[in-house]
Symmetry: C2
Subunit: 295 residues, 2 copies
Amino acid sequence: MVRIDAFESALARSFRRLVPSDAPPRLRAAVRHAVFPGGARVRPRLVLAVAQACGATPEDAMPAAIAIELLHCASLVHDDLPCFDDAQLRRGRPTVHARFGEPIAVLCGDGLIVAAFDELAHGFAGRDMLGRAVSLLAAAAGAGAGLVAGQAWEEEPQPVLDRYHRAKTGVLFEAAAALGALAAGAEPRPWRPLGSAFGEGFQIADDILDRTASEFELGKPVGQDVSHARPSAVDELGLERARARLDAIRSRALVLLPPCPGRDELHSWLAQLMSGLFARALVRTPDRMDASLSA
Amino acid sequence: MVRIDAFESALARSFRRLVPSDAPPRLRAAVRHAVFPGGARVRPRLVLAVAQACGATPEDAMPAAIAIELLHCASLVHDDLPCFDDAQLRRGRPTVHARFGEPIAVLCGDGLIVAAFDELAHGFAGRDMLGRAVSLLAAAAGAGAGLVAGQAWEEEPQPVLDRYHRAKTGVLFEAAAALGALAAGAEPRPWRPLGSAFGEGFQIADDILDRTASEFELGKPVGQDVSHARPSAVDELGLERARARLDAIRSRALVLLPPCPGRDELHSWLAQLMSGLFARALVRTPDRMDASLSA
């Protein structure tokens, strides 16, 4: 349903426009490193799939897909910084600060946030929904209840857990689904619950894998929730109930699909995507922490 | 010409909308600390003055003035971080990272960048020029040739000096003048040279004061250009020629005023503003570095 190669080409074109060859060389290399090659590109795929189901062409929705991915990459670069996760590995390669140093990593994240808004303004120039798209992206990113708020809840002695979870992961998936609809000229609001459920599933799967998978499998450090004392679905529910909830979310997300011209196709695509993404987390493997404790 | 109390009230209202009371408390306190009380608010005053000279009301241009100031505050918070200037003092008070720690300071800057775009989208909702305003702000902020690029040039072994200077200070003044015109429905391009000259003057004055004033006078650390080996007009030209250039820029900026309904009033206002801002730098005082060397 979503041709990811078209997305990659469009993203590469945007990179060349947003950080042209006369930009500061190390910063430019760092932004490239943060964006290419990507991970699963799940959020932009969701944007494009929802847009297509609502009757848009991939081109109509491409700026929104790119903006969401740039924002996601920005959050990874800053979350990996020494003052947060101090992670050395991301997508199987050195993190931006490990490769380019901390100053360039801070600037790389800043530049990617700005680039996300630049992309929307450029790609949606002259279209009525530009203002709503910028507001929607800003809410998903911002200090009120967006990604920035999500990360800031980790700095609170007593985080409000549902706000933390929603802001930390759910909100960008919500925005992805909503922006896909908006790019197709559809009302974005009915698409939020789908994005939210998908995001919750993604977070739970991540919490499970942080405890059961290896660094080699994930291409990033594991055991981070425990070492950073972060709220985790595994701590909250235990491994088995976390898996059960993930399985339930997978079914619920599909029920939440709003009516749209391409609903059936989107349904199959989403079911397949979630099966693939959540498969590793749903397979019964022991909690690595327990295993190491009992070893 | 510009009623700064109206700006402060509007900024306070925007703060409450952008970082509402249910946001993470420490992050909210940090954003407030970064924005209130402000410095001279020179950039938003320029936005409002240009807009008014072009026939707009202060209300028409307020979102642009606020967005520019939020972006400026973001850049101060990140520039002060330990990995850059490691400054402990700003506007006579502890910097954000000194007061709230580094993680919150990184997030505070991120949140302020996002807030700037949020403010434009909210304040200019439904207005034709929204797209251009977002693009203009993004260019002034971004990794290509904006503030982020300016800071990144400091991380290069051989910075391209004119790009560095323009991106580091000039670009936000250019954007301020251009956004003021845009908010009034005027063509922004003719206003860039005025903003650029004003920004260059501001940078030279800053370079001079970094070498001649005391930390107490400035409310921030001095001698930063030398200790961080940053390009400085004082090193490039010497103190006397830097002052002469600053004086020349002050005259040139006024010649660069494009035709507009309120040109005469803007001319007087700008002349007075620049006299006030540059006065301390233009007074002949010895270079503190030389004085301490010869002591």
